[in-house]
Amino acid sequence: MLELRDFSVVYRAPGGEVKAVNRVNLKLNAGEVVGLAGESGSGKSTLVYAACRLLRAPAVISGGSVSYQGRRAPEPVEITKLHASDLQRLRWREIAIVFQSAMNALNPVLNVRDQLLDVIHAHLKMTRPDALEKASALLDLVGIPRSRLRSYPHELSGGMRQRVMIAMALAVDPEIVIMDEPTTALDVVVQRDILARIVELKDELGFSILFITHDLSLLLELSDRIAVMYAGQLIEIGTAAQLHHEAAHPYTMGLLNSFPSLHGPRRDLAGIPGSPPDLRSLPPGCPFLPRCGYGTDACTGIDMNLAPVRSSSDPAHVTACPFVLPDTPVPERARALVGQPDLEARP
């Protein structure tokens, strides 16, 4: 449905170009949930916003293509070359975005009903009574009582605001919904409730989801496929099961070892030492090298192209690291690099 090829975005800055997104290839199929994981500053939000042409200068799409194909657009559309008017029809109607902070993305001086009506009238030809009915139905969909139609954003709780955001994204029946950290600011209980609702809606309405978050544990449970992003590049793509059990890239392994799990036995946690690189002056080869426990001199020479994991039977499980395999033993040196890893046992 959505395919990015060699997609690159740079921010033009006085001190040089910041390569925020570097030659990304990613596909989103119909009805699929694809997760995009990465630290803050890894370029994951830039990637999807740029793909929808939502970024203004100094961000520039410096190469590659984004093609979209859907039920209402049987011929592939090249988004990077669309005119403004076509773009307007495409956004929201075909690809809708749930933005990160519901607090700031809703208009504080309009009530929920007017904001929903705005969207509906902008994209669909509907009489006012029909549109009103549709707005009410949307609230039903996300589990908010209809009496809240006249509420203003500040009168709603964080979870409710996020639900309104989701209702707005779904207002004109889009084919793709991009969710940018939709639940990060919420409590676990509310988060779970909203995610469950999103999944239900996806099955009911049949849209695809591109889910962006830095919380890999969440993605493992939610998505069909996961793409891991580091320093503007995708470094591993695989199914949730593949990433969980046979993660091939050292960065993915590090991420998996970073979150304490609540279920199952306590394991040793390692985390990832160091901090992400400066995107203005990336060293040649692998950007993860300074933080990588497996790193060798050969790593400065690799081209970061995604290639199938050699030990995997599935050619769709790809990694940017040509050296490390899921069962490669961790070198002694890596332990030292990590520092004081395990929190001692507690009663």
């Binding site: 949930v33 630290e39 803050s40 589990g143 908010i144 009582p145 709780s157 964080g158 979870g159 409710m160 409590d187 676990v188 209980v189 509310v190 988060q191 779970r192 409730d193 995610l195 469950a196 609702r197 999944v199 239900e200 099955d203 830095h214 919380d215 890999l216 544990s217 969440l218 493992l220 449970e221 939610l222 069909d224 949730a240 099961a241 969980h244 590090g254 991420l255 998996l256 970073s258 979150f259 304490p260 799990s261 609540l262 279920h263 199952g264 306590r266 946690l269 390692a270 985390g271 990832i272 030492p273 901090s275 992400p276 520092g339 004081q340 890893p341 929190l343 001692e344 507690r346 009663p347």
Partner: protein
Amino acid sequence: MTGIEIESAAAQRGPLAMEAVSLSKDFRLGRGQTLHAVRDVSFNLYQGAVVALVGESGSGKSTVARMLAGQERTTSGSIRLDGQPVSVATRRAFRHYKSQVQLVFQDPFGSLNPAHTIRYHLERPVRLHQHKDSRVQVGKEVAALLEQVRLTPAEQYLGKYPHELSGGQRQRVSFARALAARPNVLLADEPVSMLDVSIRLEMLALLDDLRKRFQLALLYITHDIASARYFADEILVMYAGQIVERGPAEQVTQQPAHPYTQLLVASAPDPDNLGSALRGGSALRQPRLEATGPATTGCPFNPRCPFADDRCRQDNPPPQLVSALRSAACWHLDAAAAGVLAQAQERQA
């Protein structure tokens, strides 16, 4: 806690440092309405031990921290430090108290002054609390502080402004600033929740290291019960201003007794659960949780509780002992936590 005597799982780590005795805090909302933000909360902090306060936003956990830090008056109840009742009535007393009890804030982006360098942030508390005046001494101390939070080489960071640092580095500066007062008690209010997942663990390991090195009594406030499992000795679960369950971290997270704790644990993402309800489509069919806030009469959790009956809607349950180290405030523990009770009895027998 009224009525029952409970031992703390954190007690074996070290001597008692701080006691919160029946703390309550009401906020007046106007029009005669009152919000009971914290209700009858009691717990102890011990040197070298971590007590985690877990709860959702609005449960009152930050208010507890602010009261302990002396930044919020208590409506009732008392705070004792090293056995002495705490008084922050005068400026002098407040400053003295602050040199023993320090608070680390959640947001490293908002809690450092953007107009000042790191040097300024650290020199001030060193001068104020350690009463060092000579420039050489202060400089030495500041460098040592940065060393302790592993911002090395120190000279590289001293002249920088907060915006030049990453989130993790900024939070390290916050830790260093709190340590500058040489406190016995450190109150950490969601110290890692604004940071990236990959950095959180390193920060928790750092906090743990500091706790060990300085025998700090640490209160770790979080909404992430999974991190509390790894990090804390004792977990206190708060809901609507009350402690609804408490006990050793591993026991509370693995066999939660209170229905709310059970809900919390069930809601945490579980990566091992790949075929989870979330992906099966028939996602967990629960009543819409969020539409109902805490109840004002009876057990605050009753609108969301599967075990709720008339008694729960009328009377607020007092905490009841589950085992020597654990308690939970629920009328229906025998139904909600049958397995936990049976095990506790077995251990006693």
